[in-house]
Symmetry: C2
Subunit: 254 residues, 2 copies
């Protein structure tokens, strides 16, 4: 049985709490949060707003905003225990060295209120001590998540990659939605294409999966598209991504 | 029974042939292609390389490269029959007016050899005559595809939208793949995030689904990401898309 204390009451804290309580190999001993209000959604578990009241546990998981991690870690009233954070961008070293440090980063986009399937969420694990790494691995196993040993530097690379595939792709969907609305076309017509595009790269590399006018070097279609776009920022994005694709496939002239 | 002649032997022609032959409401009378070689994969159907030998049918579907559509349509040795093309970007009017014109555009990305599920492929239909439109609708129904009445101008908007959600998203996946490789991280860690990002917009608008540093106005993370990126073109794309997201959410200063 792995005894866990969760520090924080936001999105990730809530999702971790929910999945941990389902596992027989994990006991959530306590949930801490600075303010009482956010703790109200944590039922059937001891809660506290005081770090001094933190109970004994095998792992302390700090799931708070990136810029609050160091401050929480500094104030912990104990030493030499396993303390991890859940951030994609913060280094393991923002945690105070008075404790044994690690990272337990679930690489996924969390939506408030929407239950998530942890068997589909890769966990990026890091720890200074081998035995601590094993504990984190057992924690990941207990909730059915695939886990990977990822250094802070690798995690940084993953985090920026995640911005490309998640934040930026979603923004491209948003632009398409705008174009559809401006032309009285239901955006849902594009849903299957969006799904298939995302699905395709599970069997082909993105390099192999690429199609379209930029890859073909089809200047006529590119000109037609640019003419069709109303907003300058859409034209700029179209042009830059087209150039980048063209370059990738050796079509320097586009 | 709708009698169909397919003109062309490429990707779309093959996928249409495969799905049409599965429907009892459709009879593929003949497949035409300029060269004999590409016709070899069409078995159990009459084929020809001569337009003069084209048989009688209810619909002639021209599924050839965009810049060849007009030339094939011009050379058809008959008049006043229903002739459609399958292009997302070509206007209906590239078809010669000696015949009744229409468009039968499947909005999806086709991969050679990979069977496609037409129940997941929206068909964008256009026709000058109401009765012709109905025939195209019946054709879509017979293969289980949702269909939409889409004008040439709307189809143009959809086509450029498709470039954003398909070609450009895929290129963002490619960039993430590059970053992962440069940092010895397996790209597959990002697969679930890519799927979830695509899935999310079926229940939330992309506007609502947006997350990330650009939306939050988190300049520290943005600077950290830009520092982590090695290639200038990646930095440029990161900067432009970040600006566009920031603008969308009223954060003009980023």
């Amino acid at each position: 049985m792995i005894r866990v204390v969760i520090l924080g009451a936001g999105n990730i804290a809530q999702h971790l709490y929910t999945v941990f309580t389902k596992s027989e190999a994990i006991q959530v001993v306590q949930v801490y949060n600075r303010s009482q209000k956010a703790l109200q959604s944590f039922t059937n578990v001891a809660t506290t707003t005081r770090l001094k009241e933190l109970r004994d546990a095998d792992v302390y998981i700090i799931a708070v905003a990136d810029d609050a991690i160091a401050s929480v870690a500094n104030k912990l009233p104990f030493t030499n225990r396993l303390v991890v954070h859940t951030s994609g961008s913060a280094s393991m070293h923002v945690l105070h060295k008075k404790n044994r440090r690690g990272v337990f980063y679930p690489l996924q986009t969390f939506t408030k209120g929407k239950e998530v399937d942890f068997s589909q969420i890769p966990l990026c694990l890091e720890a200074r001590e081998k035995t601590d790494f094993k504990v984190l691995q057992q924690l990941a196993d207990a909730i059915g998540s695939p886990s990977y040993k990822i250094s802070s530097e690798q995690r940084r690379a993953l985090h920026v990659s995640a911005v490309f595939v998640n934040n930026f792709s979603n923004h491209l969907y948003r632009i398409a939605h705008e174009i559809c609305e401006a032309n009285n076309v239901p955006f849902q017509i594009l849903h299957p294409l969006i799904q298939e595009t995302a699905h395709k790269i599970t069997t082909l590399t993105p390099y192999m999966a690429q199609t379209g006018p930029a890859k073909r070097g089809d200047q006529k279609t590119i000109d037609d598209h640019l003419e069709k776009l109303d907003k300058d920022i859409h034209k700029e994005i179209y042009t830059l991504l087209t150039q980048s694709i063209a370059k990738t496939y050796g079509r320097e002239k586009l």
